[in-house]
Symmetry: C2
Subunit: 528 residues, 2 copies
């Protein structure tokens, strides 16, 4: 009875100028980080008054108190007080408040992630641990009541072996290296060669005459994270991706790439590297910021020589699979909202933020909707893609195998920016529909003020869902507070202790709310 | 001519209410850190107007423009405008402004540190690199014109070998470990044993019945750095120091200690460990925060077993030396100001902050005074202590060998808190003289406002100078902005790239200014 009254307040009360931010809003900051700038600015929505519901909602699903799906609230916020686009927020305030408060109080995503990281561990394509992760994810989604299937995909099978490097002149000093994904091995026993240091492509060209027979070090510093620009990952990572082949074209015998991070504790970062067709494949390894800057300082004073030994191997492609779990739509089951992350990871650390967090976020988002008894008009489908890191075979296979469905895929959402506190969504869509999609998502995101996930931008969707883009599927990335993401990205330090259970729960809330509304709203998200 | 005029302005002008903070004040912040809270609050001293001198002072020593040592300024700041204790600041404003502006603009300390770290590297007691470092320091101080000698000290000679650990149940997982200083080896082939996790001594006692035959993990979290409390190192490090023997008394076969840091990228931290006399010596290694928390999570769910292999050895004591360089006093050469750091380091990283920075700070402080032609009343003596990290033999030997001089050692200053931006000084002295020393140091530190090194507290002097304490020598530690120190302390990440040349230059300025005034002032620092 008390609850019903409170729900009514949530749905009906005009928004007061909030003086009080409830504790459960302010405790969403990631461990060890200052609260994101948006927290504190939060407030002033009708839902703020709903604190009483938050503590009670853990039991909501258990009591089976289903919200009438898609039904208009009995008393929506006055249209005159809101912009024209606010109809979605008004219409879905009640079920979304249920979703957000339930997910916010739930720790099941974190428990799933604990199993995936602590018990299974990292999971590179072709590894036994990826096979275990896929089987676990399928069983877990079955246990949660979803319709589950796996779709086979053949994936690259690259295996890391011994990787070692040391300076041999002007000093003897061991270096910390980590092979880039797919790197070829050195000749047996390794290679010893002079080092040529460059800081950008122009310097590589300028030094082209000295590159033949040498090891090229790309000492390219990643800028620090800023509120405006984010991480600077995109502008730095191209040296990791293309550096080996560009150096090989000039006759280099190996490439070293400064780890793509702005913060290092002698921490090497691996990642994808692409050999160009028809260019000699040379070994390519990441070095730490510490070692890259050491080599650069020494090279400014005279010749530097190093020894590199890499024994990695590429095996024949291995079987793998995308894992799919869904809640079938009640009216238009052929129209689909895809929510996805990738189940594979690099072979270092635990793949906790990248992308264990994304995978369990999607699993738990669907479970949250199902447990609340919500039955959306359209189908919501979790896709856990395989092989994002070193091949994108899962994403490509999905887009190809489901090509016939893509015209009816009304949205694809990906979480692959770490399981940090949600900030909102980044939309990637055809220019002719982008603005209207943005307007609708801004409208929906009003309901995410309690978890500060209201930022809606035009930008990047996600790597795995990218292959659906050419078919015109609107895409969205879950935008998270990524200020520390690239400190641990693709390293031994991407481990569960870096994940804040509350932030992860709020990621679930944000995705579940968005997916539910988009799956249930009368029009398609991109409708004129 | 122009310079002489500016110097006059420094010495004579009454302090204006500064509206403008010159660039060279604001650029003293460490790389990658927010400016310390005191910066920005700085200003409003006569020296602020001296910006014009800063750029010119690099040449001051070269032109031999000596400041009349100890002479009272021709026109001191009006006594009425300053507290009674301001006589030292007034008297020494001119030479200290010279010292500070010269040192602030000088990069020679950083160049010295570059050689020590990049060319020589880390330097554990007994290693060839420590021998090289000692020879280099002696020659460098000779080249700078000081009176130099080395004083032999025998030091422990512990050598790190293979160190490896992995979980064997309930999962197989490699761990990152780093042996604590002096740890004994495991039996050949290693040991496999169940793990007992404790979070404090009380829990160790409570679990005493399960410790026999087990490996004890001390999962003790170091608190985060705060402005008020600093690092929390002291309250955490006792488990590293005493944990092995306390566990051994209960029958444990090995000890794991969570690395003493509040910020980890899977980074193990070594450090001193002390076996208790008469207690069985068991292997003791540091584990990363990531691995400690993993083991704790698993142990909460059931039995955990791990395999540990340590092949370190303790060799016979090796010859080493303290390195001493001095500027003999012009009037009371038998009265001595000692300024010291330690020349040894752990065998990981480069020993850049710990304590390469302290060593070069002291070397360059003395050189700065000498090059400015300053001739203090008393002797200033640089002491580069050997074996601070795993024995303190250098500090003990100095206090013993110089026992007869200690009554005339008017001050001992140590820098061993990292080469970060200076904040001031921490005084450790007999209670009956501490307050009067503090009052005088506060007075002197007024002159360090341009580099924000004005904080004077009662606290810790330094490990190496500590053995002089019982003889009543007043001690002081250079207090630095240590918020990131324990991220890199005793790790592979203590490297030159973490050192800000400007911060290091300001450390030199702070120590040189203090040492010069204390060596030259008419009364002893602790005089009634």
């Amino acid at each position: 009875m008390k609850r019903a009254l409170l729900v009514l307040v949530i749905g009906c009360a005009p928004a007061p100028a909030a003086q009080h931010t409830p504790q459960w809003v302010s405790d969403t900051k990631p461990f060890g980080a200052a609260p994101p700038p948006s927290i504190g600015a939060t407030g002033a929505t009708g839902v703020i008054g709903a604190t009483g519901v938050i503590g009670a909602t853990g039991a909501t699903g258990a009591t089976g108190a289903a919200v009438a799906p898609g039904a208009a609230p009995t008393a929506a916020a006055p249209a005159s007080a809101a912009p024209a686009a606010s109809s979605l927020a008004a219409r879905y305030r009640e079920p979304v408040d249920k979703i957000v408060s339930t997910a916010h109080a739930d720790r099941e995503a974190y428990r799933k992630l604990s199993y995936l990281t602590d018990r299974i561990g990292n999971r590179l394509s072709g590894s036994a641990s990826l096979e275990r992760a896929i089987a676990w994810a399928a069983q877990t989604m079955k246990d949660d009541g979803h319709d589950v299937r796996t779709e086979p995909v053949m994936v690259p099978h690259w295996v890391r072996g011994v990787e070692a490097a040391e300076l041999t002149a002007p000093i003897a000093r061991p270096l910390r290296v980590l092979g880039l994904g797919g790197t070829v091995a050195t000749p047996k026993g390794g290679i010893t060669a002079p080092v040529v240091v460059v800081h950008d492509w122009a310097e590589l060209d300028a030094k082209r005459d000295s590159v033949k027979g040498a090891i090229v070090l790309y000492d390219v510093a990643m800028p620090k994270w800023t509120e405006d620009k984010g991480s600077g990952y995109g502008e730095t990572v191209e040296y990791r991706g293309r550096g080996a082949s560009r150096a090989a074209k000039l006759g280099a015998v190996a490439a070293l790439v400064r780890s793509v991070t702005a913060h290092s504790l002698r921490t090497p970062h691996t990642g994808a590297m692409n050999y160009e067709e028809g260019v000699t494949k040379i070994p390519a390894v990441a070095v730490t910021v510490e070692d890259a800057t050491l080599i650069t300082r020494l090279a400014a004073q005279g010749p530097v020589t190093l020894h590199l030994r890499v024994e990695n191997q590429m095996l024949p492609d291995a079987p793998s699979a995308n894992v799919i779990g869904e809640l079938r739509g009640r009216e238009r089951p052929d129209e689909v909202v895809v929510i996805g992350g990738h189940i594979d990871s690099w072979d270092v650390g635990q793949g906790a933020h990248d992308d264990g967090a994304g995978a369990v976020t999607m699993m738990q988002a669907l479970t949250t909707i199902r447990k609340l008894g919500l039955a959306p008009r359209r189908t919501i489908r979790v896709v856990l893609f395989t092989n994002e890191e070193n091949g994108l075979r899962g994403g490509r296979a999905y887009a190809k195998d489901h090509a016939a469905e893509l015209p009816n895929t009304v949205l694809a959402v990906e979480s692959d920016s770490g399981g940090f506190a949600p900030r909102g969504f980044s939309i990637q869509a055809r220019p002719e529909v982008a603005d209207r999609i943005r307007a609708r998502v801004i409208d929906i995101a009003q309901l995410l003020r309690p978890i500060s996930a209201t930022r809606v931008t035009l930008g990047h969707g996600g790597a795995d869902i990218g292959p659906m883009g050419p078919a015109g599927v609107p895409m969205m990335g879950l935008d998270t507070d990524g200020r520390t993401y690239f400190d641990i990205h693709h390293t031994e330090a991407d481990t569960l202790d870096k994940v804040d259970p509350q932030a992860l729960a709020d990621d679930v809330a944000a995705v579940a709310a968005l997916a539910y509304v988009v799956a249930d709203m009368p029009d398609r998200l991109d409708a004129p």
